[in-house]
């Protein structure tokens, strides 16, 4: 099939703009990124700098790929990262607009590549259970109810791609942060640091990102379909963290 791409090009330190490229001879079995590979290969042959975009695992788990395709983070297919989007979703003659994700804390590096390391700042603030190597007791000493373990896994499935931020009209990182917070808060192992963690991660998040106004766009964009419920649970835990008498947090 033959496609027409409108791609955002931006050099470091300069303003960007859209450029139009033709993409002839695209097979429907290609992934979206392979389609861009083919375009790049031709650009190189023509002596034009290839389009910079990020990707790594190309199987939807590393969270590196990040494109805004026709106004949707990760493109039109639900629960699918850009790298897993396949060209069979498109028809011959389609026009596709591709631009980088935008948020004040996702500065554009070049073309379609943005810097998402602000997400790491949130993780660093408390996204862990302090269990230095060697200090762990036998794993089966702490039973975890299956429902809780499954729910924690639902949250932990987050791949940290930042689509939630890109899709949010407020550039809020609530879905990412709540997934990271609740993964640990839902488990018995995470209880000791629960209030401290929630407080630190939420407040760090707010140093970089906007506030949640419950649009729900994040969930729609999320390649792992992380539930909005985690946002509600995090909000509750955050307010509790302010009220809780932590001296009693060893008691039920």
């Amino acid at each position: 099939m033959h496609l027409t791409l409108k791609v955002w090009r931006q050099e470091p330190g300069q303003n960007g703009m859209f450029q139009t490229y033709e993409a002839p001879g695209i097979s429907e079995d290609m992934s979206f990124l392979e389609m861009l590979d083919v375009v790049n290969e031709r650009l190189i042959e023509e002596g034009t700098a290839p389009i910079v975009f990020e990707s790594d695992c190309r199987e939807g788990i590393c969270g590196t790929c990040d494109l805004m395709i026709d106004g949707q983070a990760h493109g039109p297919e639900k629960a699918t990262a850009t790298c897993q989007l396949h060209m069979r979703k498109y028809n011959d003659g389609d026009h596709i607009t591709i631009e980088p994700w935008r948020a004040a804390s996702f500065p554009v590096i070049r073309d379609l590549a943005v810097d998402r390391s602000a997400l790491d700042a949130i993780q660093e603030a408390g996204g862990y259970i302090s269990a230095p190597t060697g200090s762990a007791s036998d794993a089966n000493l702490t039973p975890v109810p299956k429902d809780a373990a499954d729910s924690a896994m639902d949250a932990a499935a987050c791949i940290g791609c930042g689509a939630c931020v890109a899709a949010c009209p407020n550039s809020a990182a609530q879905l990412f942060t709540s997934a990271k917070v609740m993964h640990l808060n839902l488990l018995p192992q995470g209880q000791a640091e629960r209030w401290k963690r929630t407080e630190a991660m939420v407040e760090t998040m707010e140093e970089y990102f906007g506030s949640c106004t419950n649009h729900g766009e994040c969930h729609e964009a999320c390649p792992k379909e992380i539930s909005l419920d985690f946002i509600a649970l995090m909000n509750k835990d955050y307010v509790k963290s302010k009220i809780k008498n932590r001296k009693l947090s060893g008691q039920k």
Binding site: P12, S27, M30, S31, E34, D37, V38, E41, I44, E45, A49, P50, V52, S55, D56, C57, R58, E59, G60, I61, C62, T64, E77, A79, T80, Q84, H86, I109, R110, D115, S117, L119, D120, Q123, E124, A125, G127, Y128, I129, A131, P132, T133, G134, S135, A136, S137, A139, N140, P143, K146, A149, D150, A152, M153, A156, A157, I159, L187, Q189, G190
Partner: protein, 643 residues
């Protein structure tokens, strides 16, 4: 063999195998807690091995600098491992033990691994599960809240722990969270978007690295008392593999060129359950967890020119070739056996799919037996992934699978301490050659990466560091660093000045084809010799005709790839030579000349029960071969049989 073995000292401690590690931990020199902060350690790579090692050494008090070329340590390719992690917990009461895991791993590795290392791996496997559970890794649970297990390719006990089909992701997030905790506490300095391009060695000892900032192009050096390479394997030498796009051998290859011997590069694991490629521009292959083989049945049509849809082919016209040839293990034979058999039937012309390049993996029976919901609960995400990629619904029609390069057992040669032949330079995880011999068992890569990072290296590195107490690391202003920076800068700029006609990817694809055709699942002498000459001429062309556009002072992905592909060329030649000198078939290395009458791999224990380690000379002189003789005192060598 004596001419070879004297160079390589594996430093395996004496004593009974079950006591070696315990005794050795006691015998190693310790670094006093207040002295630990005087030692600087560089860790390159932040996958399972790198993140766990950096976090653990940070916790111990060492000054750690962790480097990743990703934006976040979380992106490392360990994240893509699906199936699970082995541990000899025996929670299922099915007779598992440390010794059985050890035995299975040595046997699975086709008796080409070092017994003492493997036993240590089996010993610490139980601690890994405890550690990961304490970090909040959401392992699958039974309703009682205790950990669930499943059995995994090649094992007859259920010892595999898993977190849906995302075990690698969850274990990496665990290690990453421990790492980020240390970053927060100041124990680890994290350098992101830094690609290591050179190992710096002074007076024979590793003293630092040179990195390029992939965003700004700035080339900088970092010094330390020791350098740990946790930079993964070299599977991308095939171009098409299940590895991530950015996986490369550059860090290990640069260390090799600085004196670290490269061991067993011919051992490559071909994973049997990947999605077959669908077009010439395929950029990578996607693996489907091997756990699928627990419930899926593999078959091809009997007839060469079968044109019916899978569901229309009656049982009588199907060949369940694995069940037929290996009644005891059936669809659960080890990866190399499953892969080679798939290649045999596809080469014979019985392949399925539009390109006739796959075999069926059929869940119809499992769905009929357990119901679609049960199958969905077990494999739902894998089925979804398959459907996304192929557009076919595996609940309705069988999956198509074909083998693809997945893991590389070879790597930098390390001793029992995980130190390479360059003192002060360590290699952990997939980057080293150590524990899997000629073939890795399923769910053992995660185990090895974390064993090295959490429980082995942090102890053994103290033994080396303690000897340099009182010495500052070599300064960044030392001429060795200045020279290394100049070297790297030259190399980087050279790519930009060639200005040929073909892209880096073009050459990488061409290289990959050669490596797959000649050094893939089956190798023979002629092919390997041909491979060496064809790779050499393609390499020459690459250096003359590659086109890298743009500049060095910005994010330039072609430039990054050029350096990586250049190192792959050198590695591919060594891989072919290694395959050539190993005149036997073992695990992931199958020489057509050496097979049984039934077409099974035929080892030559008398002449090849050794590790081949290659020592770099210079560009013009091929590497020199060295050997580490392997001795088996605790496992009897048998010809593997999965009948």
């Amino acid at each position: 063999m004596t001419g070879y073995s004297d160079v390589l000292d594996s430093k395996v401690p004496d004593g009974p195998i079950a006591d070696k590690w315990t005794n050795h931990k006691f015998n190693m020199k310790l670094v006093n807690p207040s002295n630990k902060r005087k030692f600087e350690v560089i860790v390159v790579g932040t996958g399972l091995a790198g993140a766990s090692a950096a976090a653990t050494m940070g916790e111990l008090g060492y000054k750690v600098k962790a480097f990743t070329f990703h934006d976040s340590p979380r992106r490392a390719h360990s994240i893509a491992a699906q199936g699970g992690i082995n541990a000899a917990k025996n929670y299922q009461n099915d007779g598992d033990s440390v010794h059985r895991l050890f035995y299975d791993t040595v046997k699975g590795g086709d008796y080409r691994s070092r017994e003492a290392n493997v036993h240590r791996l089996a010993e610490v496997s139980v601690n890994i599960i405890d550690q990961a559970a304490a970090q909040g890794v959401p392992f699958a649970r039974e309703y009682g809240g205790l950990l669930a297990n499943r059995s995994f390719g090649g094992a007859q006990v259920s010892r595999t722990f898993y977190a849906r089909g995302q075990t690698g992701q969850q274990l990496l997030l665990g290690a990453y969270s421990a790492l980020m905790r240390q970053v927060n506490l100041g124990g680890v300095d994290l350098y992101n978007r830094q690609e290591m391009l050179e190992l710096v060695v002074k007076d024979g000892q590793a003293c630092g690295i040179v990195c390029r900032d992939v965003i700004t192009g700035e080339i900088s050096s970092h010094s330390a008392h020791a350098v740990v390479l946790a930079t993964g394997g070299y599977g991308n030498v095939y171009y098409l593999s299940t590895n991530a796009m950015m996986c490369n051998t550059t860090a290990t290859w640069r260390a090799h060129r600085k004196g670290a011997m490269f061991a067993n590069p011919c051992y490559t694991q071909i994973h049997p359950t990947c999605i077959p490629s669908s077009d010439p521009f395929q950029s990578k292959l996607t693996l489907m967890s091997e756990s699928l083989r627990n419930d899926g049945r593999i078959w091809v049509p009997d007839s060469f020119d079968e044109s019916r849809a899978a569901s229309d082919i009656p049982e009588s016209d199907r060949d369940y070739y694995l069940e037929r040839k290996y009644p005891a293990f059936g669809n659960l034979v080890p990866r190399d056996v499953a892969s080679r058999n798939a290649k045999t039937v596809v080469d014979a012309g019985k392949g399925v799919g539009p390109l006739k390049n796959g075999v069926y993996l059929d869940f119809a029976e499992a769905i009929a037996r357990d119901g679609e919901d049960t199958v969905r609960a077990k494999y739902g995400n894998l089925f979804d992934m398959y459907e996304r990629i192929t557009g076919e619904n595996p609940y309705k029609q069988p999956m198509r699978i074909y083998p693809a390069t997945h893991y590389t057992m070879g790597g930098l040669w390390v001793d029992y301490h995980l130190m390479t032949t360059v003192p002060g330079c360590y290699a952990i995880g997939e980057a080293n050659f150590s524990d899997h011999g000629a073939n890795r068992l399923g769910a053992s890569a995660l185990m090895q990466g974390l064993a090295d990072g959490y429980f082995v290296l942090p102890y053994t590195i103290g033994d080396y560091l303690s000897t340099s107490l009182g010495h500052d690391p070599v300064g960044n202003d030392d001429p060795v660093f200045k020279d290394a920076i100049a070297d790297v800068t030259d190399r980087t700029n050279r790519w930009l000045s060639i200005n040929g006609t073909k892209s880096v990817d073009h050459y990488h694809r061409e290289l990959g084809k050669l490596v797959w055709d000649y050094i893939g699942m089956e190798r023979n002498k002629n092919g390997l010799e041909k491979a060496i000459s064809e790779i050499t001429s393609l390499e020459e062309e690459f250096h003359k005709n590659v086109r890298v556009l743009g500049s060095a002072d910005t994010l330039n992905q072609s430039l990054e790839k050029a350096g990586r592909v250049s190192d792959f060329f050198e590695l591919a030649k060594l891989k072919a030579r290694d395959a050539l000198v190993r005149e036997e078939s073992a695990g992931g290395h199958f020489r057509e000349e050496h097979q049984t009458e039934e077409g099974e791999a035929k080892r030559d224990d008398e002449n090849f029960a050794h590790v081949t380690a290659w020592d770099w000379n210079d560009e013009a002189t091929p590497q020199t071969e060295h050997r580490e003789q392997l001795t088996f005192e605790n496992v009897a060598l048998t010809q593997r049989s999965y009948k």
